[in-house]
């Protein structure tokens, strides 16, 4: 009881909960699930953009893209490490991912069809990720909050790179401008879905807000994203594919059209354009690498055995 009061006091005062502090089981479970899903998203997220490294049309873009995808592996590593401070195990979390028992962000179940998608993902997907993640830099669990500070810095860099690629393409040929517009047409709605189901249907929000794991509702964050993105789209010269999108002076926000929640649930449910492909890719890498990890472990064990004998 005393421990629980202390925990509640720490959370209410906006102080950080640290790995050795007492915490309710539900808080620990919720965090492990959320951090693991976040880590999985970083790792699965390497695939759609990684798809274009070999074909990047300039060496500079190739370097930027490779560095970005490498960053995502790094984000996965920080986040798995944060989950491990709660008693989770990376190998076990990876098994849950490749067996489809834990989810990752649905946005990565969409295909990357042209090089413009690299720019649009940077702009919209990293952009939406930032809106989701900036509040997490103040989340109540210390190691998660600290990981997010580092991740957010790098994500904003990714976003800038993506936007800069699009600006360059929009100043290029008509074929390039058309390519960007088609890409925006494909990614706009899925980006809005990244904030999750509407508040009326979100099951996790209330408890997570109370524990200060979460600080804003899905709809609040989605609105913020739309309001930020509209002027950027104008500056870029692309049309966001929503006839209902307009400024509402009364609300001080942009109104926007209805999201296709049926598609959202279909993709979340496993039947998105690339769900099976993404998991199969990750599973193959994990399985193909098993003998290498075993060899490394066996070698390390032999070495430490030798040291003990010596």
């Amino acid at each position: 009881m005393e421990l629980e009061h202390e925990f509640e006091r720490v959370v209410a005062a906006d102080h950080r909960v640290e790995p050795r502090d007492w915490m309710p089981d539900g808080y620990r479970r919720t965090l492990i699930r959320q951090i693991a899903q976040h880590a999985h998203s970083e790792i699965i997220g390497m695939q759609p953009e990684g798809n274009w490294i070999s074909r990047a049309p300039s060496l500079r873009r190739k370097a930027i893209l490779l560095a970005k995808v490498q960053d995502e592996a790094g984000h996965g590593l920080y986040l798995y490490a944060a989950a491990e401070t709660l008693g989770a195990d990376r190998e076990d979390l990876t098994a849950k991912l490749v067996e489809g028992r834990q989810k990752y962000s649905s946005i990565f179940n969409y295909p990357t069809l042209t090089f413009a998608d690299v720019g649009v993902i940077g702009w919209l997907v990293d952009g939406a990720a930032i809106v989701n993640q900036v509040p997490l830099c103040r989340t109540s669990y210390g190691p998660y909050a600290r990981a997010m500070i580092r991740v957010c810095k790098e994500e904003s860099f990714h976003q800038r790179q993506g936007y800069e690629l699009l600006l360059t393409m929009m100043r290029g040929t008509q074929a390039q401008r058309d390519m960007v517009q088609r890409s925006v047409d494909r990614w706009w709605w899925p980006s809005l879905m990244m904030f999750g189901p509407p508040d009326t249907e979100s099951t996790n929000t209330e408890q997570s807000m109370k524990w200060r794991i979460k600080r804003h509702t899905n709809d609040e964050l989605r609105q913020k994203f739309v309001d930020m993105t509209v002027p950027q789209a104008e500056k870029l010269g692309v049309t966001l594919p929503d006839p209902d999108l307009r400024w509402n002076a009364e609300r001080g926000h942009h109104d926007f059209g209805e999201i296709d929640w049926a598609e959202f649930w279909q993709v979340v449910g496993g039947d998105g354009p690339c769900n099976a492909q993404r998991i199969a890719h990750r599973r193959k890498a994990h399985e193909d690498g098993a003998w290498v990890r075993e060899a490394a472990a066996a070698y390390a064990a032999k070495k430490s055995g030798e040291e003990q004998v010596a």
């Binding site: 500079r60 790094g74 930020m228 003998w291 990890r293 490394a296």
Partner: protein, 294 residues
């Protein structure tokens, strides 16, 4: 305050992810061509070293999201990025020496296969494709980085200030690549029975391509004081590899070297069948959008 600030204002060149700010890497280096140099030869030589780096980088990047563990994903991407950075500097130098209006991208994306001057070792599939696996990738990296480190160390004394500067920068990078490959060679050879078999098979996969690294080339001979004579690297490379093999209790593979084609190999633009596919993939977007800016 918020991560979006400054986004719309993109007028300035910002500090991009590493690997892209390559002009800054050599700022202050005299870019004048050395006196009495045959510029055609200097171009060819820069292409040899640049293409080696570019094509191996392309191969290593194939591991991205496919490595045995996340740490290795990061490490292989790092090595690929280092090599890509070296390739960009060298292709840029080749373009300067050539004097024709072209740049690193023209050279990387619009040359045809017979104009690429890389050794065949870097272009073959050593995994994650069906042509190899992680051990073959490590075997190639061990051989190539040992060779390239020996080469770059000598190249730091080149009469071409740009080549000397590229080499000085590259030495530090490639020393890490070699160390990374050597450590994995020890782990795989000394890990499990299976991993040892794979390591042996990996070395056998790449060994036929080793001799080509040390074949003296007329372009090198025509650039005294600027280029490094490949034949002079063999002893040092053998010694380093033998040391790693001894530590790993591996024998040097007994596999014969691969023949050239009517005397010509990768350095002369005669490649393996794998090269056409690699270039088709690498050059496709650039070539299919003429006039585009990226």
């Amino acid at each position: 305050m918020n991560a979006y600030e400054g986004l719309v204002d993109t007028g300035e060149e910002r500090h991009w992810a590493f690997g892209t700010g390559f002009t800054a890497a050599l700022s202050g280096v005299d870019r004048a061509l050395p006196a009495e140099v045959d510029t055609e030869d200097l171009t060819a030589y820069c292409l040899m070293l640049g293409d080696d780096a570019l094509i191996l980088s392309q191969r290593l990047a194939e591991w991205c999201s496919r490595a045995p563990e996340l740490e290795e994903d990061v490490a292989l991407a790092n090595i690929a990025l280092d090599l890509l950075g070296q390739a960009r500097l060298l292709l840029t130098r080749a373009a300067e020496a050539d004097g024709v209006a072209c740049d690193e991208d023209t050279l990387a994306f619009t040359r045809d296969e017979h104009e690429f001057r890389n050794v065949r070792l870097v272009e073959i599939d050593c995994g994650p494709g069906p042509g190899g696996d992680f051990a073959a990738t490590i075997a190639r990296l061990l051989v190539f980085s040992t060779y390239r480190l020996a080469l770059l160390q000598r190249l730091t004394g080149s009469r071409d200030p740009v080549l000397a500067a590229v080499a000085a920068k590259g030495v530090k990078e490639v020393a890490y690549h070699r160390d990374h490959a050597a450590q994995w060679t020890l782990r795989l050879a000394g890990g499990t029975e299976f991993s040892r078999e794979r390591m042996v098979a990996g070395l056998e996969r790449v060994w036929p391509f080793v001799d080509e690294l040390f074949a003296p080339h007329p372009v090198e001979a025509r650039l005294p004081g600027i280029a490094v004579d490949s034949a002079t690297l063999r002893a040092e490379v053998d010694e380093v590899l033998d040391t790693v093999f001894a530590a790993a209790s591996l024998a040097r593979p007994e596999v014969s070297p691969l023949a050239t084609v009517a005397g010509r190999g990768g350095r002369d633009g005669v490649h393996t069948e794998a090269m056409g596919y690699l270039l088709a993939e690498m050059q496709h977007v650039h070539r299919s959008m003429p006039g585009a800016t990226w």
